[in-house]
């Protein structure tokens, strides 16, 4: 106990040195924390924006649909699934969809198209589809012949808002699906997640077109916390309790996007390790200097009869206390910085388009990791670094120490 009190007093005795050393550690803490925060925050917002532009945090399909999509592999009772989903607190919103390929023709042009039937009211709660509209109006809340087409389809058919065109496809009952439609709106060319020849219409109109009855091909899910997408998807699977249905998180349904991100993240991880190393070395530098320069002092202690073990403990205790205080200060600073960056972000010089979503800021995030990792780094490296000079000081002969500078 005496040692601890001595250590505490030593720390505050030499305010300037402690301040400098502590500042280094706190500074390293904050910067490292900011790095982690920005990394998490950026990926987080990337994932969130991407998944809410079309695909959702997870999707429910009939088993086997994801590997080989087919008109006939449909969810037989989407309403029942919807009721189950409504009862889950983790599910913030859900939206049913139907899909089928079709032939679109207008005038003399014929082009392959992808039809998607949506429930506009539900989509409004779950996704950010309407924001991708470049002109015209979105799909109405009631079934009608007004459809929204992607820029690619509009240019392939040379049609614009207000024009009419026809769709021909295969009905689920074997008949030929055919009907006329009116372009209600056109999606943005670059700012939209719908890059192919998409044609969006009300789900009931689409069901009628493809003779699908009340079935659906997909239910897109949005969770309250997208970070738990995997667990929540498993939860949904269990809650639905139907072996014919599959619930998969975005990491599976958007495998390519996920892997691209993983690649990016791995690179970021390397940067993190580098920064961690540098923070550790910075701590090493200051602690080492601080301890080594008090060799004389420790010589006096030993001359007075202090046991080597106690000298060791004294030094370690000082280092630990300093590191703890520095970490606390760093944590406060980091909290403030990350919080600010989480809300305001760092504006990007050029907006970057990724998966049809435009990014203008790099945001930070306040997560447990932004505190735990820097804390561990600073504390552990301080302690590790302290061992060497502590040992040296413990073993020093008073004569040598007293004669040094």
């Amino acid at each position: 106990m005496l040692i601890f009190r001595m250590a505490l007093r030593n720390v505050f005795r030499n305010r300037r040195r402690s301040l400098l050393t502590g500042l280094m550690m706190a500074g390293g803490f904050v910067l490292f924390s900011a790095t982690i925060g920005i990394s998490e925050g950026t990926y987080g917002s990337l994932i969130d924006m991407f998944t809410r532009s079309r695909t959702g945090h997870a999707q429910v399909h009939a088993a086997g649909y994801l590997e080989r999509p087919s008109l006939y592999k449909a969810i037989k009772d989407p309403d029942r699934a919807g009721r189950v989903l409504d009862g889950l607190p983790e599910v913030e919103a859900w939206a049913p969809r139907v899909y089928t390929p079709a032939l679109a023709f207008a005038g003399s042009k014929t082009v392959g198209a992808q039809v998607m039937g949506i429930d506009p009211a539900r989509e409004r709660r779950a996704m950010r589809l309407e924001g991708q509209l470049a002109g015209g109006a979105f799909v109405e809340d009631v079934p009608s012949d007004g459809v929204v087409i992607s820029a690619r389809l509009a240019s392939a058919l040379s049609i614009k808002t207000g024009d009419e065109f026809s769709l021909i496809g295969q009905g689920a009952d074997g008949s030929i699906a055919n009907d006329n439609f009116r372009v209600a709106g056109v999606l943005s060319a670059s700012g939209s997640a719908f890059e192919g020849p998409w044609c969006l219409m009300h789900i009931d109109k689409a069901r009628e077109f493809m003779a699908l009855g009340s079935r659906a091909h997909e239910i897109a899910l949005v969770f309250t916390d997208y970070r738990k997408a995997r667990e929540d998807a498993a939860l949904v699977s269990a809650a639905l309790g139907d072996p014919a249905l599959d619930a998969q998180p975005w990491q599976v349904t958007e495998k390519e996007f996920y892997q691209a991100m993983l690649l990016d993240k791995k690179g970021g991880d390397i940067t993190n390790y580098v920064i961690m190393l540098i923070v550790a070395v910075g701590v090493l530098n200051t602690i080492l200097m601080a301890v080594l320069e008090r060799t004389r002092e420790y010589g006096v202690l030993k001359a007075l009869g202090t046991r080597p073990a106690d000298v060791f403990l004294l030094i370690m205790a000082e280092v630990f206390i300093l590191a703890l205080i520095a970490s606390a200060a760093g944590a406060l600073g980091a909290l403030g910085l990350n919080h600010y960056l989480a809300n305001h972000g760092i504006p990007l010089p050029n907006p970057i388009s990724y998966g049809g979503v435009k990014f203008t800021v790099m945001q930070s995030a306040v997560t447990a990791e932004t505190f735990s990792r820097p804390a561990w780094t600073v504390l552990l490296s301080a302690l590790a670094v302290g061992i060497f000079p502590a040992l040296k000081a413990a073993r020093i002969t008073p004569v040598k120490a007293l004669s040094s500078r």
Partner: protein
């Protein structure tokens, strides 16, 4: 000036341990930046190389509008002439002519639609690495009418090496359907789902024949001598080959996701640099102040003796400069070493898919000149700037107070 430099140098050497530690810490910071930069660009480079080198090429030439409909009639205007021009073009390292069309591939068991490419294996070898992904058989190396199928497509067709395949495609000049028989000469396992289920390859000359192209072609894939050329929008190349109804596009236009990655990388490094400089600044300030407080008495004496405040400041700054120079040298050496060491084996990313292609080769740190002149120069400058605070502190010191203080 000389006097102060000498003084600074000697002062730094007075406490070798401290100087060494400081130089190590700060140098490590810069080494970290060098390494991060090298790895980030190495990764980007690897990505770009994989994406463009597997099949796409660094740039492509098409007839305008071709990619929307794959209409056989939309052949490259003046195709054969462009090929000759490419042959002579000093920017171009290699190019491959191709035909491209929708086709129905049929086997006795089943039929499926695919993108049918007519390729020249010899030219392809210098442009794409697809031939390496052929498992079983060869990439159209043998004489005769062979076809290479993506593995998933072959599965759907229940076709194996040597089996009969009938290809049906809409020919140019009227849209008549042309049919021809092939034998499976190879199965393609690229690892990309899209490629393996949608692609089929036949010989270029045979494709021209089948589609009634009369010597025309649909696509030219180009590889430049300098890969950076593909990103240079100002090159006359794009106008030269992108006129008369054609369009020439580099990979940034063909794969926008990659271009986005590039920008993110540059920005990410900037952020990292800022953070590292924060740590470096702390380290330098810490060291300088430690050294300052230790020599308070000395400084007090200097002032008492008549040294002007400006000169005091200058002394600190010169010491910082010395520290900065040493750190930069240490950092460059450490950076270089770390890049070399990691570069021996590289970082393994096999199996990860990006933009439809699998990474097959490990990532190696990439050398860039900026790493060894920009970063050290920036560090040196930064050190000088950071030293201003302790320098001002030293200049404003009260001699009497200073001499009374001791650590």
């Amino acid at each position: 000036m000389n006097f102060y430099l000498k003084l600074a140098w000697r002062n730094s050497l007075r406490n070798k341990r401290r100087t060494a530690l400081a130089a190590l810490a700060v140098g490590l910071g810069m080494a970290g930046l060098i390494f991060t930069d090298a790895i980030s660009y190495g990764m980007l480079d690897g990505l770009i190389d994989t994406a463009t080198g597997t099949f796409l090429g660094q740039a492509q030439v098409h007839r305008r509008g071709f990619l929307d409909t794959a209409d056989a009639d939309l052949q490259i205007a003046g195709g054969p002439a462009l090929l000759r021009q490419l042959e002579r073009d000093p920017l171009v390292s290699a190019f491959a002519p191709r035909t491209l069309s929708f086709a129905m591939i049929s086997s006795p068991a089943n039929s499926g639609s695919a993108m049918l490419y007519g390729v020249d294996p010899a030219a392809e070898r210098r442009v794409s690495r697809l031939a390496r992904a052929v498992s079983g058989g060869s990439f159209l190396a043998e004489e005769g009418d062979y076809i290479v199928l993506g593995s998933l497509l072959a599965e759907t067709l229940e076709a194996g090496l040597g089996d009969k395949i009938v290809v049906t495609a809409a020919a140019a000049g009227g849209g008549e359907l042309a049919q021809a028989m092939f034998r499976v000469g190879g199965i393609l396992k690229s690892g990309s789902r899209a490629m393996d289920s949608n692609m089929a390859f036949i010989k270029f000359a045979k494709a021209q024949d089948l589609l009634n192209l009369k010597g025309g072609l649909h696509e030219i894939a180009v590889v430049f001598k300098d890969p950076a050329a593909a990103e240079n929008a100002a090159l006359p190349f794009w106008r030269e080959y992108g006129s008369g109804g054609n369009e020439a596009k580099g990979w940034p236009e063909l794969i926008p996701e990659l271009a986005a990655s590039r920008e993110m990388t540059a920005f990410g490094i900037l952020i990292t640099a800022i953070i590292l400089s924060g740590i470096v600044a702390l380290g330098i300030t810490n060291t300088l102040f430690m050294s300052l407080y230790e020599r308070m008495f000395e400084f007090g004496v200097l002032r008492a003796v008549g040294t002007r405040p400006a000169r005091m400041g200058l002394m600190i700054v010169s010491e910082a400069a010395a520290l900065g120079a040493i750190s930069a040298a240490v950092g460059a050496a450490l950076g270089w070493l770390s890049c070399r060491l990691v570069g021996i084996k590289g970082l393994d990313y096999t199996g990860v898919d990006f933009a439809g292609v699998s990474m097959i080769e490990p990532i190696r740190p990439m050398f860039r000149p900026e790493q060894y002149w920009l970063y050290p120069a920036a560090l040196f400058l930064f050190t000088l700037i950071v030293s201003l605070y302790p320098a001002v502190y030293a200049a404003r010191m009260n001699p009497v107070k200073a001499m009374r203080k001791s650590l």
